[in-house]
Amino acid sequence: MLKNAQNDNETSSKKFGELTDTPNARQQQLMALRADISTILNTPKSLDENTSRTKKQGHSNIFFDDCPAQQLHELWAARSSDHAAVTAFALASAKDTKKPILWVASTTIFREQGLPYAPGLMNMGLKPETLVLIRTATGKDALWALEEGIKADAFSMVVGELEDISLKNSQRLSIALQEHNTKGILLMRSTQEPQSAAYSRRRITPEPSAQHPILSNAVNESQVKVQALKHRAGIKPHTFSMEWNHETHRFDLVSPLGDRSVAEAATPPRSRQA
């Protein structure tokens, strides 16, 4: 006779409690479990339910394991006010390297969205000396500069801020990336979803920050919502929220369970019988 362990998963604990009953109930239980499995498989994979992953690493390295080098990644900002969040996300991934970062954008984009600001970069834990800015006159020059930067093999990350990119050009960049050891990130600023041959595409939007425990009016740490739209490795589209941690200089997953109140138990907990 198996005693059930007390755990949070109340439904399955209830089911296991009935294991010693009739074979009919056993059949019912099996069917219920199969139904559970099929719902898990059919719903889009969200990292909250993907318990093995979240239990292993609770911070944003999960994202960056899915963002490997030698591939082209797109971060899409749909509105002008999203662009800062996209920038932060791109920069957060390149702090641990000695090689410089190549940042390519045209003059119009730098005028509209602003230049990277070194004191802000230092707040994020990034040294401003590692950033090399390329300010081009046209988008075509920006694409050429991106390709040159990729082929150099000398930069840790090549970031391009573009308004749109054609399929042919993105394929060209992907092919160049596959042969050289660097990471390519495109920050797309367009209203429509960019259609390109990138390895992965994510839409980043800023979110209201969490309530500060003391000052309700204080702007707390930045939160962003990441919508993974496309991934070549087959990961289904999913959405998750991340919060900036100014001490570790990393984006951490926002845990949705943090604020829940203690739920009332449906059945009173069994007492252990000796």
Binding site: A84, L91, Y117, L133, T136, F155
Partner: protein, 492 residues
């Protein structure tokens, strides 16, 4: 004689307008062309060139051959020339204009027969000397110096032809060489140059490209012996019609790699125009830096110069001001403490940045954009604002962080009505309803009851240094204008 007189004598006279500026420009171009003979060349007056050919004769097979070559080329270009070689500038000048042509350098002692006009002295002095019966330079040299100095004291003046003249004694000394005279060269002479002369003038730029690797290799080998690397390289292509086409490339770090320099030069070779052809190509490093020899690794690693070589290629195509780095300038004003400049490695200016400042945005607009804000007076944070034609509703705000003008730069400003750039700014970190976070500021302070008056701003008509104040009234007296709000930066 006037033009009418001349036309009366010869009815079908060919007339052309004189254009002294263009003539001078032609002379300058010819002077640059003459650099093929010697790096020290100067244009002399309106119709002459001065070259210092010390040590250059052996390149042309001797002095006689050099002079013949010069004369032939000038004739081919279309100029008739008088060429003279002497030990001093004064003697050469006089010999070329007033002496017979010799194909060998003449000693100063042989030039005593030159007339006094051969010295660069004012016309009045010449007339006086002729009246006194002194017609040759040799006669002047036999007169004791103090007598000459006492009699002919003239200030510097320009003669009719526009040549520079000076006192007689000084000119005599320059003639004989007792007073040193230097040449103000057009282009600075560099220590290195590699020449490649074409047998026949080349018409296509591709031929130059084919000749480049050999010359670059010679140059890099020569530099390797002295452990120097090139920072700026100039390619001069001399045309047969007496002009020079120059191409300059720069690198971010000293380089001695012929292939890399070839790639940089090839980027811009299309800008050279051959017209009737190039007959000489000269590679000259304009600035060099020490570059020690280093071990080349056989492992497939990226070499340390990969970054600078890529940046060289990028700046060769996009321009030197396209490859930028962020540098620190000590200032409290946020947009002033960072400036962009052409990238160079090994910068440490950001280590001085004070680490006790409030959090700063990640991106900053170079020019703050004006916005319309609804906020509580005098120091309240914004409640709603309108930026780029979109309305934003503020949920959270932090601030104000007060940044005032750096009064120590301009002490006279204290107590005066402020110019727009001198007003105090109150910065707020704002979060709006959908989560975006902004950094905006109010320029100018409102009055606070019993604490301080409003910041007096002098209203100037026309645009000010930041943005145009909407309330420009052209009243000359200083007037308190309303503070304005601007969007400056973006947080994540």
């Amino acid at each position: 004689m006037t033009l009418a007189h001349a036309r009366a004598i010869i009815p079908d006279l060919i007339i052309a307008r004189a254009n002294p500026e263009e003539d001078q420009a032609h002379l300058q171009r010819l002077a640059y062309w003459a650099v093929r003979y010697s790096p020290l060349v100067a244009a002399d007056g309106q119709d002459g060139l001065l070259l210092d050919i010390t040590g250059c004769e052996h390149l042309f097979g001797g002095l006689t051959a050099m002079l013949q070559d010069m004369k032939a080329r000038l004739r081919r270009i279309g100029f008739s020339s008088h060429i003279a070689v002497a030990e001093t500038i004064g003697a050469a000048w006089g010999q070329a204009r007033y002496g017979r042509e010799h194909s060998a350098p003449v000693h100063i002692n042989q030039l005593h027969g030159l007339p006094v006009q051969a010295l660069r002295i004012p016309d009045r002095t010449i007339i006086t000397l002729q009246r006194l019966g002194l017609k040759a330079v040799g006669q002047l040299l036999s007169i004791p110096r103090p007598a000459l100095a006492r009699r002919f004291q003239t200030l510097r003046s320009k003669s009719l032809k526009g040549e520079d003249t000076a006192a007689l004694v000084k000119r005599l000394d320059q003639f004989t060489g007792q007073h040193a005279e230097a040449l103000k060269a057009l282009a600075p002479a560099s220590d290195w140059s590699v020449r490649h002369a074409f047998v026949e003038p080349v018409l296509h730029v591709q031929s130059v490209e084919l000749a480049l690797p050999h010359s670059l290799l010679r140059l890099c080998n020569a530099l390797a012996e002295t452990e120097l690397g090139v920072r700026q390289l100039a390619l001069h292509c001399y045309r047969v019609d007496g002009t020079v086409q120059t191409l300059t490339v720069g690198t971010h770090a000293a380089s001695r790699d012929p292939a890399h320099l070839q790639r940089l030069i090839s980027e811009h070779l299309d800008t050279l125009e051959a017209s009737f052809g190039f007959d000489l190509m000269v590679l000259t490093p304009l600035s060099c830096e020490p570059l020690a020899a280093h071990q080349v690794s056989t492992l497939r690693q990226t070499p340390p110069e990969a970054v600078t070589q890529t940046l060289d290629r990028l700046s060769a195509r996009l321009g030197h001001s396209a490859v930028l780095g962020l540098y620190h300038r000590h200032s409290h004003i946020p947009e002033a403490c960072q400036f962009t400049a052409p990238y160079h490695q090994g910068d440490e200016s950001w280590q001085d940045y004070p680490d006790n400042t409030a959090p700063r945005p990640m991106r900053i607009l170079e020019r703050p954009e004006p916005i319309e804000v609804l906020a509580e007076v005098p120091e309240g944070a914004p409640r709603r604002f309108r930026w780029r034609r979109l309305d934003y509703h503020v949920t959270k705000a932090e601030g104000p962080e007060r940044i005032a003008y750096e009064w120590w730069h301009d002490l006279e400003v204290l107590g005066q009505p402020h110019k727009p750039g001198h007003l105090t700014r109150d910065y707020y970190k704002i979060e709006v309803a959908d989560g975006a976070r902004f950094w905006l500021f109010r320029r100018g302070l409102y009055a606070v009851e019993g604490v301080r008056p409003a910041e007096q701003m002098a209203v100037v008509s026309g645009s000010d240094d930041e943005t145009r104040t909407p309330t420009t009234q052209s009243i000359p007296s200083p007037q308190t204008a309303q503070p304005h709000w601007f969007m400056h930066g973006f947080f994540a």
